[in-house]
Symmetry: C2
Subunit: 546 residues, 2 copies
């Protein structure tokens, strides 16, 4: 028997809160037929069997009996707090419909379906994982379900296990693929339903129908806790600038949410930098000016939040990387040392603009860009330590200003990268409740014969009992986008909206945060205290739903 912490044991007993509509017997309220968000004709043509379905909502209903059915569940992609609670919600949901129902978990992601790796999720297993973080109950994986051969391999095990429906818990791509799979099985009349669930800490799976993806709440709160602690340290020691990079792939939602939580001196938003066409030097100057301004007030300390995806949103760097991917994978590329590569590139082997950009980089970072490449020969952008790149360029600029007599402070930088610290945190009450509700919703979508739907829960800034659970046809969220040179139907990734309320709130306050020290210290996630502490939603959600 595995040893458990006191908190693990205490959390086992937590009963997630459910929307009223899912608390007892459930009936379905169907809306009008839907349309995809764009490219209606193309999407409709690609999804003849799953297009145009109505949004459904679950409301209190009459007692009904349901025939026996089995369900399969898959975790897809990166971990997010609350995944286990989705599975627990599905389990409790289908057991309530019919105690003979069985739940199978496919192992290590979508690959488990293709390779027929699975285990039955019994009550004992489920109870071990209630309200826990991580995806370790069945594991996750990044295999993409895209090929007919995969779909056909899947149907073999689905038939063997007499599975009526699959639930795929994943991000935008996984849910797009869930929709394709639903359409395929529907077109083939295989009688297998496919339901999606909106997961990702990155927060980039949201739209008119999906208020938030699960895990974003817990991950951001965990990052905000440690950033808050670092800010308190900065304000106590008064001698360090902390450069803090935050996970979140392309979108800056996590950085923005943390900024709204902790009120740092600076938070960079990739989407804004791209929109304004800023250069690396613009960003460095912006930070250096803040350092200088604070130093003039005697404050030689501060915090800078940096979204993980920043580097690719700086137009000049993006152009440089594009040319490097091209030039360095061509025959001219000599597998020499990175430093030699840089020298060769600067010697007339890049366009003038990109030569200037490369020359402006500190040599170690120029070397990173021209060093080890991924299997496709591309620059490994995720390996670039943006937080160190920026602080080193800021230090150089401040040295220069010091010589020019424009700056006389002290600049000492420390670096942090937070990501793995939050992806598997035990879910906050919000994520525990939200995920469990999504799972129960999924069970109801299945019981009501739906396919190509994503389970949703709305009204999430209200108390859980007032939440509205239901399902939305995934086709409704699709549009056509170019992927690897081909137009494909995909769920649009939600980047930070510069006209949205969260960014506007941030933009209205950031000048004050930069000059003054307005740090807020959120502290660790609380599970047992007053509701205003334990059930607080993200600032992003609060501003968006205001």
């Amino acid at each position: 028997m595995a040893k458990k912490s006191a908190l693990q044991i205490a959390r086992e007993a937590y009963s997630p809160k459910l929307p009223l509509g899912l608390q007892g017997n459930v009936s379905v309220k169907e809306g009008a037929p839907t349309q995809s968000v764009a490219d209606q004709e193309e999407v409709k043509k690609l999804f003849p069997n799953t297009y145009g379905l109505p949004i459904v909502e679950f409301v209190a209903g009459e007692e009904k009996t349901y025939p026996q059915m089995n369900v399969g569940v898959i975790l897809s992609g990166g971990q997010a707090p609350g995944g286990h609670n989705v599975i627990c919600g599905i389990y409790d949901g289908i057991k309530r419909l019919n105690p003979d129902n069985k739940l199978y978990g496919f192992l290590l992601g979508p690959g488990g379906l293709v390779d027929h790796k699975y285990k039955e999720l019994t009550g004992d297993i489920i109870n071990e994982y209630r309200n826990t973080g991580g995806f370790d109950m069945i594991g996750s994986g990044r295999t993409k379900l895209e090929l007919e051969s995969q779909f056909e391999s899947g149907i073999e095990i689905i038939r063997k296990l007499d599975i009526k429906a699959l639930v795929i818990i994943g991000g935008d791509d996984s849910n797009t693929n869930a929709c394709v799979l639903a359409e395929y099985y529907a077109a083939k009349n295989y009688g297998v339903q496919v339901i999606g669930c909106p997961k990702t800490i990155d927060g980039d799976l949201k739209n008119e129908q999906i208020e938030t993806s699960f895990g974003f709440d817990t991950a951001c709160k965990t990052y905000s806790e440690v950033i808050g602690n670092i800010q308190r340290d900065a304000n106590s020691a008064k001698k360090y600038w902390h450069f803090i990079k935050l996970m979140g792939r392309s979108a800056s939602h996590i950085a923005l949410e943390c900024a709204l939580e902790v009120q740092p001196n600076i938070c960079l938003i990739s989407e804004e930098i791209q929109e304004k066409g800023q250069s690396l030097d613009d960003i460095v100057t912006y930070i250096a000016e803040a350092v200088s301004q604070r130093a003039a007030n005697g404050d030689n300390f501060g915090t800078v939040l940096i979204p993980e995806g920043l580097i690719e949103f700086i137009p000049a760097v993006k152009r440089l990387i594009a040319e490097l991917n091209d030039v360095l994978s061509s025959e001219k590329y000599l597998a020499a040392s990175p430093a030699d590569n840089v020298a060769w590139l600067l010697d007339g082997n890049l366009s003038a603009d990109n030569t200037a950009t490369l020359a402006s980089l500190p040599s170690s970072f120029a070397a990173q860009l021209t060093g080890e490449r991924d299997p496709h020969g591309n620059v490994q952008v995720s390996l670039i330590e943006t937080e160190k790149l920026l602080s080193s360029m800021v230090a150089t600029k401040l040295e220069q200003w010091k010589k020019e007599g424009k700056y006389s402070g002290k600049f000492s930088a420390l670096h942090h990268f937070f990501g793995y610290e939050g992806r598997c945190a035990a879910p906050s009450n919000f994520d525990a409740d939200y995920c469990y509700s999504l799972g129960v919703s999924a069970s109801q979508l299945i019981a009501n014969g739906k396919t190509g739907y994503m389970a949703i829960v709305k009204n999430t800034t209200r108390p859980a009992s007032e939440w509205i659970a239901g399902g939305v046809p995934i086709t409704m969220m699709l549009n056509m986008e170019k992927r690897n040179g081909r137009m494909k139907p995909v769920i649009r990734k939600a980047l930070v909206d510069l006209d949205g309320a969260p960014f506007k709130a941030f933009a209205a306050m950031r000048e004050t945060w930069k000059k003054e020290t307005c740090y807020v210290y959120p502290g660790p996630i609380q599970y047992f205290g007053p509701s205003e502490v334990c059930d607080k939603t993200t600032e992003t959600l609060r501003y968006e739903q205001q």
Copy 2:
């Protein structure tokens, strides 16, 4: 008015728990005269006025009236959670004795006393900081109070503010200096008392009299939270080895405590490595064997905890650094590039042993050792990224084993360093209570005319009401040690005791933890839940007091 998080607001209302002996009127129980732990004759000679005093204990007593007095307080050295509560305890303690008493805070550490920088800590200020992390109320600093000129400068402001006693909140060095100052003021008949308080997250200020230093509990719990989250991620993704370096200066108490909390696959203990005379290659082989063994079981993931001070406890590396400090600060040292320095050193300019050690290091780390130096010309050991050094050497060894057919797994490493994330966390209930009790104890030591004492609280694994508060003469903890070539009276630093219960418990379990996956997930510090979750002490304290 500064914006506060929901948790900050909720925690303002928390009333720290006090030992019974400090809850009402207090009387003093004095023990027998004491001796220093060693070198009694020398210590007695150096501290004629403060040597041999009795240990005191506070018990419930009669109501008494106390004359008006003012007190000064100083925060010294690195931040530790709970420092503000010590100050709040002093404030409430002296106000209870006499409402006209005043508390002054010296700013930015001991330097504030010397430079006469201070502020009066009124009830409004105190209330803003109850149960908060950080040292931002008055700031801290690293000025050492050692010189007569500093003591004399201090007495000027002490007299101006009519201060009867100073409380110095600090680690082993700061408390040693508090004792020297107490003796100096006593010898001069200045009528000023000096009281110390045991602070440090590193956990290395403990002995027969001091059960634990404050802040260790909260800092370790914060690190254990994020390490636990990372372990859940490792066990979900099943593809990364996480190399996690933990703050803690020389001693490995923090790494050991976190290991007992989270049950990682590997935790290195510097004191054991030194004791066994292990080489860097021994350590790398130990880790690589664990990686290989787990890979054979299909587990290409794991966690390694690394104490910050490790590198200096490896005898061969310690000898290399000593010779580098010598050779590179001599005239022969050319301020060439680090790579050139390494080449020059390896070319017969180091002893044979140290040449071999330097040659065994990956080139980037050899360069770190021979690159930038501190103002004294020494190698900057703290800048060496031990976690990356180890993982890179492990990778090299595994590659070699792969070629030899001895290993066939996948090894992919991620790196973390946790320190600033925990030093200023809001204190756990334990640290909030412990620190507040220390502060109230300090006020009682002052009221009872004591000087050269440290405030202490014992019996800390029992409920707070059963704690025993009192004071111990600092001279009792002194021994003579060589510092900068001179014998000086100092409080002995407590390294991890390899015969102590915490290490033995760890050693008894680590083989299982290494092979199997026994991760425990402590989760975030809780303030409001069941007592077994919220009032849990450290595992270190539990084992030591068992």
